[in-house]
Amino acid sequence: MAQVTYPAAANPSLRADQPHKTFTQEEALANAPDPSAGCFRVPRVIEKEE
């Protein structure tokens, strides 16, 4: 049976652990249906104890 082999780097799935450009907060919120105060707003999750 033909082997599935090809030349590859020692561990191609790992990259150097270096900071790189990511989204700004504004960009991350740009598509949100209900952004508020720099966050994604959702209905209340934790009930108040009576």
Partner: protein
């Protein structure tokens, strides 16, 4: 001279000799879209500003005597599941109707860096789930060869745009045949590279172990140029392969004489007679070109459709969990608490086929059924892959039909999902095995209306160069026009 009739090389010649400008080429395509797309409906959105800005840049570079990229001024359409920054990326779903892509997929970025002009985003089945483009959340696309028929799917808009000369080439995505099957229905060339050949970053995930980005074109050479540009390791997708990209175009003119071509008996059952006739003519032509044709067997083919749909639905149910109305996309207005918000958003945002796949995918992954369905399907996937690898001990290329039937009528299969799934019967196997496949036109059906028939060629992992070489030899020998 009609600029929309041409393929990449003649367009480049006109451009470099300054007989046509990139802006003129782009405008000619927008005019053709204006003229034809009212009927075909291939595009969901046009990007004229971006296109003309890029075309003007190419013209300025040419005027200054600068070198331009290999795809300079070539108008390209992009399926609406592949991100192009600043353009809406809807995945043909209401749930993403207003989603604006925050970045370019590397495939798009590489095309633009090579000089390509992005015309717009094309229609598809919602989240690429379908085989006819009728599952689009907005409208169906029509086959340019017969407007009463489907263009295939899920990349039906990208295929129809190229077939109707509303783009020179386009990008589609293929999970189980979504490039190859619409290429067959629309009479053009469509290719899926080896899994990992093209980065999936910026391709909205449907079934991550099966998703590919790949090109459409009206010639094998155009498809080779496109794949050449978008292929190669890209660090944002850890599954993109660190395998050198061969010069696909340079390899096209070599002989195919002596190559061993296998024809699996399992793929010739259940074909419509006309499709079968055309495929046989295509195989005969390969033999005339000096290929050594031999029958082979891929014994687990019968299990492929069940195996594919279990795996892709399982992966889809997980991938589509992200559409919850919180970070992006549609949010229902009808809710009182968080649970209700999720439910109403997904209930109102997704179409019927997407819901069907999420529910079935959740079912096959659920406790008690996981072993019986998902785990079993993964084992069958290994057997199907092994079938191919064993076959490639004896042959270099495998030839099959792309689809058992030519383009069917709009609406004809919408009430029977299983019939729709069976349209993928010959394409899902290569997807499961992760091997590359190309669909080339193989004549038209004899009876009226004369509909395109597609022939599929598949090869070993990362053997795209040989696949393209055989496809190109087939095209040059008149294979696209074989008569049944």
């Amino acid at each position: 001279m009609n600029l929309t009739e041409l393929t990449i090389d003649p367009l480049r010649e006109l451009l470099v000799s300054r007989k046509a400008s990139a802006v003129e080429i782009a405008q000619a395509h927008f005019e053709e879209i204006e003229r034809r797309d009212k009927e075909v409906r291939a595009y969901l959105q046009l990007c004229p500003e971006r296109a003309l800005e890029q075309a003007s840049k190419i013209d300025r570079q040419l005027a200054a005597g600068e070198l331009v990229g290999p795809l300079a001024g070539i108008p390209v359409a992009v399926k609406d599941v592949i991100l192009a920054r600043g353009a809406r990326n809807t995945c043909a779903s209401k749930i993403l109707a207003n989603y604006v892509a925050p970045y370019d997929a590397p495939a798009v970025e590489r095309l633009e860096a090579a000089g390509a002009v992005i015309l717009g985003k094309t229609n598809c089945d919602e989240f690429a789930m379908g085989s006819s483009t009728e599952n689009s959340g907005f409208f169906p696309t029509h086959n340019p060869h017969d407007l009463t028929r489907v263009p295939g799917g899920s990349s039906g808009g990208s295929a129809a745009a190229v077939a109707a000369k509303m783009a020179v080439t386009s990008l589609g995505s293929d999970t189980g045949g979504s490039i190859r099957q619409p290429a067959a229905f629309c009479g053009i060339v469509g290719m899926m590279g080896t899994y990992g050949r093209v980065s999936r970053y910026g391709l909205v995930a449907f079934a991550s172990s099966l998703d590919h980005i790949g090109p459409f074109g009206r010639s094998v050479r155009d498809v080779a140029r496109m794949l050449q540009t978008i292929a190669g390791r890209e660090p944002h997708d850890s599954t993109s392969a660190d395998v050198p990209v061969e010069d696909y175009v340079a390899g096209l003119d070599q002989t195919v004489s002596g190559l061993r071509v296998g024809v699996p008996g399992e793929y010739l059952k259940g074909l419509s007679p006309e499709t079968g006739d055309n495929i046989q003519k295509g195989i005969d032509l390969l033999a005339k070109l000096g290929c050594v044709v031999a029958p082979i067997s891929l014994p687990h083919t019968d299990y492929a459709i069940a195996c594919y749909y279990i795996i892709c639905m399982a992966e889809a149910s997980s991938n589509l969990a992200r559409y919850d109305g919180v970070r992006y996309g549609y949010r229902s207005a009808e809710y009182t608490d968080l649970q209700e918000m999720y439910k109403q958003t997904r209930y109102g945002g997704f179409g019927a086929e997407v819901k069907r796949r999420i529910m079935l995918g959740t079912y096959v992954l659920s406790s008690g059924y996981y072993d019986a369905y998902y785990l079993k399907a993964q084992k069958v996937r290994t057997l199907i892959t092994r079938d191919f690898l064993e076959a490639f001990d004896d042959v270099d290329i495998i030839v099959t039909p792309t689809s058992p039937i030519p383009a069917f009528k709009l609406g004809e299969r919408m009430d029977d999902p299983l019939q729709m799934y069976l349209a993928d019967i010959y394409t899902v196997t290569a997807s499961l095995a992760g091997i590359p496949g190309i669909c080339v036109p193989c004549g038209k059906t004899k009876g009226e209306p004369h509909l395109p028939v597609g022939m599929q060629l598949v090869a070993r992992h990362f053997d795209e160069a040989r696949l393209l070489r055989v496809a190109d030899a087939f095209e040059k020998a008149g294979g696209f026009e074989v008569s049944s």
